[in-house]
Symmetry: C2
Subunit: 568 residues, 2 copies
């Protein structure tokens, strides 16, 4: 193989593949350069003048190294890794750093292993991180727990690339023994450690970094991004579906600190991937925000390769992996062709590969909730003032508000108010836990809506204006093994997320069509279009984001960092 | 330890050491920044506002990450690693990538192991490369051979950091099986591979890089440096004693390609280190040549750390090793203090550590040459025209010239000519091999001079105007176990290089004084001051540098790449 590569590089033998007549971004010089790109045995033999057994004319186009998504939860697409690959490879992405945080919270290490094994069926290169925060907090019931000892056990596994985003910032700075164990295990194994430290700075940030945490993708101001980069962190510029931070952080990037910036999508749902793309979308935003096109490419390729120690990736240069994206231009970033290991895997928006889906038992039939009756959703108050969760548009934070509430027959009366009943039903261990609260501002009328995607423990979250329909939703979600369901006028519609209750085993087209139909039903029930009807619910159970959330164990005041009663 | 570091970083506990009131170069931003630097447990806890159990006032000074010499042969200093460390750490260097090419050509793997073990006695961090070219060519007799199989055997050893400079460029591009075996072994072990590819470009260079060779320190024009960097090589800007390439290559460095440049010294002798310094000297030249001071620091620190995967080195930032050099300014680079792992190891030009020397038997008594008589140096010619080596000032290349030579009594007559007799006497395996040739332009009269440093196989090289004194030199070098000797008017003076015939076990001061005295004796015998009298001889046996050289097997025409007769 090496010998063949040398022969091809020197021009003694024809290369396997040559991209002819185009230009390419040289990430080492920041220049757009002319020259044929010769590929042999999956590697780049060289650029210059070459002939190939197969030649692709890319005149008028610009080749760049295959894009690297430096941090992504595949589960947020609600697609399998196989379908995910088919959506993103035609956009120019060839490698992702995947943190299976969601599925691992449901299925434990088997979830991470599933993501890895399923990825072996597609040309997308998926580096799987070991989630560091399973469960994310001690205030909810997750499907699985990964302790410090588990981290020690799994961090050295072949399919584990590093330690996933370390969300437990207090655990680091207060030296929580389990957190310390996890960080020491990663250090001992010589693995990379991702971070997640919104709104940290100064000496607290120093401590977090000194603990061995290398990256952050939560910056929302250029000052925050600049400080983190100046302290040696790799800073992901994130362009997700809900969290779009590239534009705001672009001004933090300077020629001198540029090498510390990466691109990532974090969470992007299927419809967004289909309609707007993946890192190609992030690149469009980056360039529109003032980052020079060649610099944007360096950020999306070489920098991620360096950060994640992906030797041989991130450049079009001799000896590098022949992972290449060919764009029409560096403004609209329309992807013409994608090569992975020298093979053409996508062209003009279409993936050129098929994959049989890997669907192991371990990630299926994960809904293990007790049967519920309508009465289980009764909410008995002592008085007539209640702590209520107020949901905000375009936001995952909530507000705590106090409202007057009437009761009758051992339950609150919702009729004539803007309030809905919200419940989180434990679904992993049949504990029967149900947390019940009140939600304001969502707008649903005449039924209930619910799903098994509820960050980060992914219990059943259900919202409604009557107990019967809420119980019907839970029954339906139990029946279909997880997914999304809606009950309007007594009629149930649902969509199965049969993998861990998080992801659909359907193909992307089918899933997108079904989920959009379901969404329209929700809007028809009065849900404000300011919300993504299902996904906005899924963050109401996440007790690390202010100000007030609901878990299967009750109402949680994030500011006080403890449970509170509903009576105010 | 991690817990203590976190406490110090957050300011909950005093740091072990704090550098107060100074500035430092932030290699991630290219800026000169103010702030205390806190150190705990050998690592940097953070910068900002800190208090320490021990505090050093560095007001008016500038701290930078400890300098990293990206490629050096310690043997060229002719000092032990212990003495070498004492010379260079006060200049701000804390880590070196050491290629023990010379001593391994004499002693085999035991030579590399010696360099590593001796380095454990000093705070200097020495990463030892496995020499890839032992012997350097097939046209000479070295002390040892490292085959492809040996490389497979040793490359995974704990004390081996990577594969040393791959000088065998033809071996790569013509796919020599042994060369292939070595490169594949390094790739399989996931180790870095250094290069050495003077004057290569285009597709040949592509092939060399595609073979997995990552670096080059032989660029002598900015065009060559720029091409190599553009193809993803790390390019060492070299400032050695004889080869000073920083100034000429400085214009190749741009903001966009800057991260691919490193600094190295390659070969620097003791007197030069003492008088002019180490990387501090290279930094002075770099800045004088137009590289911005902060960029020069990035090149000398972060870039080398990234190239050589020295995670946790190369920056002053939380969690990084507390390897720090404090300079008076970024123009003269006078080093005020050097810290290694948080410990003050040098101050105001003086090393603050002592080290007992490690002197294993394996690297001593390495002169194993047959006894010689004056007659062994007779040179019988068939005719009266001889191929003669013409030595050039300030240069390691030579010219082939043809001269009329008289013979008498079965030997050439040197009297009345500018010619001297040059001999290379095999000294490793008692083969009795003696290569004899004629040298022009050196200037010695009335005696002989010789040494056991003769690149790269390090046989005895001896030069004289009469056979008796040449034989006396060889006898003396055998007696003292290797070194340098001079015979003037029948009187012998010598200096022992008792480690492999290459390095002195004496302290640096003593060695420098002795070697300068010996040099003066050589100049007193008429050697032109344009030559470093001994070291200029040591390159006359290196059959890879044009145009005509002498090995223990005879006269070698580098252009024809074969032996030639002396008769012309």
């Amino acid at each position: 193989m090496l010998e063949k590569l040398i022969d091809a590089a020197i021009g003694r033998e024809k290369a396997d593949v040559v991209l002819k007549n185009g230009k390419f971004v040289n990430v080492f010089t920041g220049e757009i350069q002319e020259g044929d790109i010769a590929i042999c045995g999956g590697k780049i033999a060289g650029f210059g003048k070459y002939e190939g057994k197969v030649e692709y004319d890319i005149s008028g186009k610009i080749a760049v190294p295959g894009l690297i998504d430096a941090h992504v939860h595949i589960e947020s697409s609600q697609l399998t890794p196989e379908e995910y690959a088919k959506l993103i490879m035609p956009r120019g992405t060839t490698t992702i750093i995947a943190d299976p945080h969601e599925i691992t919270n449901v299925c434990g290490i088997a979830g991470a292993e599933y993501i890895w094994k399923a990825s072996q069926n597609v040309p997308l290169e998926v580096k799987v991180m070991l989630p560091s925060c399973v469960p994310a907090t001690a205030f909810e019931t997750s499907g699985a727990t990964l302790s410090g000892a588990d981290t020690e056990k799994y961090i050295g596994e072949n399919f584990i690339y590093g330690l996933g985003e370390f969300m437990n910032y207090p655990g680091v700075i207060y030296k929580d023994p389990e957190a310390m164990k996890k960080l020491k295990a990663a250090a001992a194994a010589g693995k990379v450690v991702d971070g997640h430290a919104p709104n940290t700075s100064g000496n607290g940030l120093n401590a977090y970094i000194a603990a061995g945490i290398m990256t952050d993708h939560e910056c929302v101001t250029p000052e925050e991004a600049a400080e983190k980069a100046s302290k040696g962190m790799y800073v992901h510029l994130r362009e997700g579906s809900a969290t779009r931070n590239v534009a705001v952080n672009a001004s933090a990037v300077t020629p001198a600190n540029m090498r510390r910036f990466l691109l990532c999508t974090d969470d992007r749902h299927a419809a967004d991937l289909k309609a707007n793309g993946h890192l190609d979308n992030a690149l469009r935003v980056a360039v529109k925000s003032g980052i020079k096109p060649a610099d944007a490419i360096v950020i999306a390729t070489l920098n991620s390769a360096e950060c994640y120690r992906l030797y041989g990736k991130g450049a079009i240069a001799p000896g590098y992996d022949a992972d290449i994206a060919v764009f029409d231009d560096l403004e609209n970033f329309r992807c013409y062709m994608t090569f992975k290991g020298g093979k053409l895997v996508a062209k003009e928006g279409k993936a050129l590969f098929e994959a049989e889906k890997y669907l192991p038992e371990a990630v299926r039939n994960t809904v293990n909730a007790k049967e519920v009756k309508a009465d289980d959703f009764c909410l008995k108050l002592k008085g007539n003032r209640a702590n209520v969760i107020r949901i905000l548009k375009d936001n995952v934070v909530t507000e705590r508000v106090v409202r007057e509430v009437q009761s009758a027959g051992g339950d609150v009366v919702l009729k004539g108010t803007d309030l809905l009943k919200l419940a989180v039903v434990e679904r992993h261990h049949k504990t029967g836990n149900i947390g019940i609260g009140l939600l304001e501002g969502y707008g649903l009328k005449g039924g209930a809506i619910g799903l098994t995607v509820a960050h980060d423990s992914h219990n059943i979250i259900v919202l409604g204006d009557n107990n019967e329909d809420m119980a019907a939703i839970v029954s339906e979600l139990r029946r279909i093994g997880g997914g999304m369901a809606i009950c309007a006028g007594g009629k149930i519609d649902s969509l199965s997320l049969d993998i861990a209750g998080l992801m659909s085993s359907a193909d992307a087209e089918t899933y997108i069509r079904q989920s959009e139909a379901l969404l329209e039903k929700a809007y028809a029930m009065g849900v404000s279009r300011g919300f993504e009807a299902f996904m906005s619910l899924s963050f109401l159970a996440l007790p690390v984001i202010p100000e007030i959330k609901l878990t299967d164990r009750g109402l949680f005041d994030v500011n006080r960092f403890d449970f509170i009663g509903i009576d105010a």
